[in-house]
């Protein structure tokens, strides 16, 4: 299964963290730091895999992609195929790119909820669900449509009108 998805920038600031096995906040911080320490030491144009036994426990590996100012990192175990994981990062990035039209770090910073929605359509509970960015996009758009229609019903906060009515 996939143990974690980490998106962080090249300064080590996390932009998206998802751990599919529960980690308390301090541990999350520690793990993110160690991953960054490993990645920042690697030059470009080398292989994208890192054995992560020391960070995430025996048998785990880490695959990453360095794109612009961001690292996209997937942590996985022996149930997953290395090259398939690399492809999956591509799927995620592609989806983000289509969703935000030329994605950049700022999009990811300001769309915390949407990032999670997208990720949850691709990976669910550590299992890969969807590998077509088109279908992911469709599902995400459907959800945001529903959310919008739900909130547009009460454009003025209900409670405010309630209070004034009192």
């Amino acid at each position: 299964m996939i143990r974690a998805v980490i998106v962080m920038n090249t300064q080590g600031k996390p932009r998206l963290l998802k751990f599919y096995e529960f980690q308390p906040p301090e541990k999350q911080q520690e793990l993110t730091r160690s991953v960054f320490a490993v990645l920042s030491g690697r030059p470009d144009n080398v292989s994208n895999f890192v054995e992560a036994d020391a960070i995430f426990g025996p048998g785990t590996r880490l695959v990453y992609k360095h794109l612009a100012t961001l690292y996209f990192v997937f942590v996985f175990d022996s149930c997953e195929n290395e090259l398939a994981m690399l492809d999956l990062i591509q799927v995620l990035v592609e989806t983000l790119d289509r969703c935000f039209k030329n994605v950049c770090e700022l999009d990811i910073v300001f769309n915390f909820n949407k990032m999670h929605t997208i990720l949850d359509e691709i990976i669910f509970g550590g299992q890969v669900l969807e590998t077509s960015s088109e279908r992911v996009l469709k599902a995400v758009e459907e959800i945001s449509r529903l959310e919008k229609s739900a909130s547009s019903v009460s454009f003025v906060p209900k409670s405010v009108s309630g209070r004034f009515g009192r």
């Binding site: 030059p43 292989s47 022996s78 149930c79 915390f112 669910f124 739900a150 009460s154």
Partner: protein, 959 residues
């Protein structure tokens, strides 16, 4: 701002109207330039959130929760205090509210830290229920929360609610794959849910299912089969998996199927024969590298008997290794080769050049993998060449990789009591060489091996002491903290095996050289002890020399004659014409002379003067150490000084002839004593030696130890008592001593420099007092990789080929103790958690008796669902039977029958074992005992039914 007007206790309208959104908070965080400002901004945001989240207005609450979730997730703040507020938002009818709540909960909830989730059971059930008003946009996050944060109890309660989603057949159902993933996690936390969840999971594999559901289900089975300590319960599903392997066009699915088959192949040998053709087909035709790689892995892990498949896979690896533009493929290719092991070293041999080139890759992963590959394929005929090459290469590589090389050379050569090493002289000198690598940092293992070889291999001792001497004598090594362990071993070797030394006096000098004060005390203690041994040996040899005086006299006269002849020959050489025969004779004579001179030198070591000189040196240097702070050093220094006193007391300088020895039998007594002290040879100790000591009868261990504590507690003796003892007499003189030791080495140092100028730098740029000595060997600047490549290519062409010729040397005896070391590791395997056994057991129940319905959960599931399941069962059974027929048509029936006959007792036994496991876990976990009782109760109900003969529904697809 609004926050200042609001009262801190209750949220007001102002809060609601002027609430900062998540984006506002993010902007505030981004605009804070320093870490302190950011911390302040976060603190302010948290203050606001604490107030806002208690607002009765749900919109205010949800924004607060979103902000909190953001801060908790990306700035690592604990948000467990807000768990209840998140749950409060779940029932809201506005879609964004529960979705925000689910996101917060799935990121922060866990049974170990949040015990509130059971409060949401009802709400979760409502969101999961299939109704038109419920959109997947709510059910999906509900499933997600269940997958990530559910406790065993919650999983048990909500498992029946997953069923309608799991078994829905409509292909438009986007929830089904999510439910599959959730069911997998539910099974992991609560194996008891297997009777309910397992069958729908199996159904998801069927042809009619939505491809995404199939993909999710195969992923789930892959997870289950790979995690289970015993995957045999999944063997009956092999036909389904095989069908997917052949029919599926989805690479993700095929990869997972291959993984499952690799796991199953170890259980059932016929699996391999069955999958080899499809796997080869995929290897040949698939354009997807990930799938090809998975096929290679499958071949190497379970199809090694099929030569054609192995060759095909090796060819594919060559393609991987040749892809210059993709380091990932090169890395994975090397890694796959590593799976093959020494039995297929031909495969490595085929790509020898690429592998050696890879040692020089810019990518550390690839270098490391290549190193591992080379080490795995090391054998006794190529170990010398390859290790020499690697150690030379290590000098030029970067510090980290240099140590990795050294580490792997040490580990591989030391493996299984040096089984690879034939020529120990070579290995010992290699150890001496690698120590001089400027980046060397593997002192501990080198120390262990130097001592260990000394103990185990008698024939290696002369070379060992030669290497030790070269290490000890070099003053530059003393300043390197990584080398002190190695020097400690060298010192020990020099003391223990001094009889092989050509020049013991030189050793003592090296051991007492001024810069030894840089060594940590525990190493110094070893040094002093080595001096003690060498002194004892020298004195004994001196006395023995006198005892053998008669024969010595004869030898001396012989020597005289030899010298005479030598000079005659020289004279003859200069005067006469040279013919060949004469030349040969001359050569022989000079060789003889060399040996004779050598022996004279050796004998002359132990003259009176040399012994007195030795004693003086020892007294000068070791004297101050008898006042040392460190008890170990102090004690040993005093021992040595004591020995010096005794030897001086014998007035040995008066002794010339043997009869004088007999006159003074004090000396012979001392010699006898000292010989007795060191004559016993030290040997290796088995790791299990302690276990073999039988406890004497009547001795009760583990008793009365508490009494001991009382006794100790009474008089308050603490370990520091001994320390104060050591300080006792030199406390007042401490400052004196310090200044003395600061001055004294200077004179010694200059003297040492005079003697061993070779090892010192020229005077002008060397400050003799300072500790910054030159490195042991000049660190070569990291050479650019381009240059290195040439060197590497020039490496012996045969380096990886195991040479066919027999080694010319016979391997010396290596003392090995009986192997009992495997015992420890065997216990570890059984200590694995029993949870998966539980799950396997439960799944076996489901698969092997799927005629019977699991009855335990019926009270929780509505009756209509049960009937539906019954229908499903019926149709599945018919399907299975038809498959059985089909599979039987593959081969002869007899075989199939025999296997089914075989499988029955097997399966019964398994159930027993799973019951045992359950009992075990029952004992351990008091928490879920209630449930276990129920579960066991069910099993007891089932037990009598078991007796009814009933053909197990495992069809033998393999035939």
């Amino acid at each position: 701002m609004a926050a200042t007007f609001a009262s801190s206790s209750s949220p007001s309208l102002i809060d609601t109207l002027f609430q900062r959104s998540l984006d506002d908070v993010i902007r505030a965080l981004r605009s804070s330039s320093s870490a302190a400002l950011e911390a302040a901004a976060i603190a302010r945001a948290l203050d606001e959130i604490r107030r806002e989240i208690r607002s009765p207005d749900l919109d205010t609450k949800v924004v607060a929760l979103q902000k909190l979730t953001y801060l908790a997730s990306l700035h690592h703040f604990d948000m467990s205090w807000a768990a209840f507020h998140a749950l409060e938002l779940l029932p809201s009818t506005s879609l964004p509210h529960p979705r925000a709540a689910y996101l917060a909960a799935s990121l922060s909830f866990h049974p170990s830290s949040t015990d509130l989730l059971p409060l949401a059971t009802h709400q979760l059930r409502k969101h999961l229920a299939p109704s038109p008003s419920n959109s997947p946009a709510l059910a999906a996050p509900a499933l997600h929360l269940l997958a990530l944060a559910s406790s065993p109890n919650l999983a048990r309660h909500l498992a029946p609610d997953l069923l309608p989603i799991l078994s829905s057949q409509s292909s438009s159902n986007l929830l089904r794959p999510k439910a599959v993933a959730t069911a997998l996690r539910a099974l992991a936390v609560c194996p008891d849910a297997a009777p309910i969840l397992f069958k729908p999971l199996v159904e998801c594999l069927s042809l009619s299912s939505d491809p995404r559901a199939v993909s999710a289900a195969i992923g789930a089975f892959c997870e289950l089969a790979l995690a289970a300590p015993d995957p045999s319960p999944y063997l009956p599903l092999a036909p389904e998996f095989y069908r997917l392997l052949v029919d599926s066009r989805n690479n993700w699915v095929t990869i997972k199927v291959l993984k499952i088959f690799s796991r199953l192949a170890s259980l059932e040998p016929r699996v391999a024969a069955r999958i080899v053709d499809p796997v080869c087909e995929l290897l040949r035709c698939s354009p997807a590298k990930s799938l090809v790689f998975e096929c290679i892995r499958t071949v190497f892990s379970s199809l090694l008997d099929h030569d054609a498949a192995v060759r095909l896979a090796v060819d594919k690896i060559k393609e991987f290794l040749a892809s210059d533009d993709d380091p990932n493929l090169r890395y994975l290719g090397l890694q796959a080769l590593n799976m093959l092991g020494p039995a297929h070293s031909w495969a490595v041999e085929d790509s020898r050049e690429v592998v050696i080139q890879a040692l020089n890759d810019t990518d550390t992963n690839i270098r490391r993998e290549a190193l591992r590959l080379i080490m795995v394929n090391l054998c006794d005929s190529n170990v010398v060449d390859i290790c020499n090459m690697l150690i030379k290469y290590a000098i030029k590589s970067d510090p980290e990789f240099a140590n990795e090389i050294i580490d792997s050379v040490l580990a591989t050569c030391g493996r299984n009591v040096y089984e690879l090493i034939v020529d120990f002289d070579w290995y010992v000198s290699l150890l001496g060489e690698m120590v001089r690598n400027p980046h060397f940092a593997k002192g501990d293992e080198t120390e262990r091996q130097l001592v260990d070889i000394g103990l185990r291999v008698r024939d290696a001792r002369p070379e060992l002491i030669h290497v030790a001497r070269n290490l000890l004598i070099d003053p530059a090594l003393l300043g390197n903290p990584f080398l002190c362990r190695v020097l400690s071993a060298a010192a020990w070797v020099s003391g223990e095996y001094v009889e092989f030394s050509r020049n013991p006096l030189e050793l003592v000098e090296a051991l007492l050289q001024p810069r030894t004060n840089l060594l940590p005390p525990f190493v110094r203690a070893v040094y002093v002890q080595a001096v003690f041994k060498i002194l004892a040996y020298s004195f004994i040899s001196f006395i023995e020399q006198i005892q053998a005086g008669e024969s010595l006299a004869i030898g001396n006269s012989l020597n005289q004659r030899g010298k005479q002849e030598g000079s005659d020959l020289l004279a003859a050489k200069s005067s006469s014409d040279q013919n060949n025969a004469f030349e040969i004779g001359h050569g022989v004579a000079t060789a003889d002379n060399a040996i004779l001179f050598d022996s004279i030198e050796k004998q002359e070591i132990f003259k009176h003067e040399s012994i007195s000189c030795l004693l003086n040196l020892i007294e000068t240097v070791v004297g101050p150490l008898s006042e040392c702070d460190e008890v170990e050093v102090q004690e040993r220094a005093r021992n040595v000084l004591g020995l010096v006193l005794i030897i001086r007391g014998t007035q040995f300088w008066n002794i010339e002839e043997e009869h004088e020895l007999t006159r003074d039998n004090k000396i012979t007594k001392i010699v006898e004593l000292m010989e007795a002290a060191f004559s016993e040879e030290l040997g290796p100790v088995s790791t299990n030696a302690q276990k073999r000591v039988s406890v004497p009868e009547g001795l009760i261990l583990n008793e009365n130890l508490s009494d001991l504590l009382d006794i100790l507690g009474d008089d308050g003796i603490s370990p520091c008592a001994s320390v104060s003892f050591s300080f006792r007499n030199h406390h007042p003189t401490e400052t004196n001593k310090d200044s003395a030791s600061a001055i004294e080495p200077n004179s010694l140092l200059s003297e040492h420099r005079k003697r061993h100028g070779l090892y010192y730098l020229p005077m002008d740029n060397d400050k003799s007092e300072s500790n910054d000595y030159p490195c042991a060997s000049e660190p070569l600047l990291p050479v650019s990789h381009g240059e290195d490549t040439e060197d590497i290519v020039k490496l012996p062409a045969q380096s990886l080929i195991p040479e066919k010729e027999k080694p010319t040397r016979t391997r010396p005896v290596v003392i090995r103790l009986d192997e009992g070391d495997g015992v420890l590791s065997a216990n570890l395997a059984t200590a694995r958690e029993s949870k998966h056994d539980l799950l396997s057991g439960a799944i076996r129940d489901v698969l092997l008796r799927n005629e019977k319905k699991p009855s335990s959960m019926h009270e929780t599931s509505p009756p209509d669902r049960t009937s539906q399941r019954r229908e499903n069962d019926a149709c599945e059974n018919s399907e299975l039977i038809s498959q059985q027929k089909e599979s039987n048509s593959f081969g002869d029936r007899e075989h199939g029958n025999s296997s089914s006959r075989k499988s029955r007792p097997h399966h019964k036994e398994r159930i027993e074992s799973s019951e045992q496991n359950e009992e075990k876990s029952h004992r351990h976990s008091g928490k879920s005992s209630r449930h276990h009782r129920r579960h066991k109760h069910r099993q007891r109900e089932d037990a009598p039914l078991d007796i009814v003969p009933q053909a197990p529904v495992i069809q033998d697809f393999l035939l």
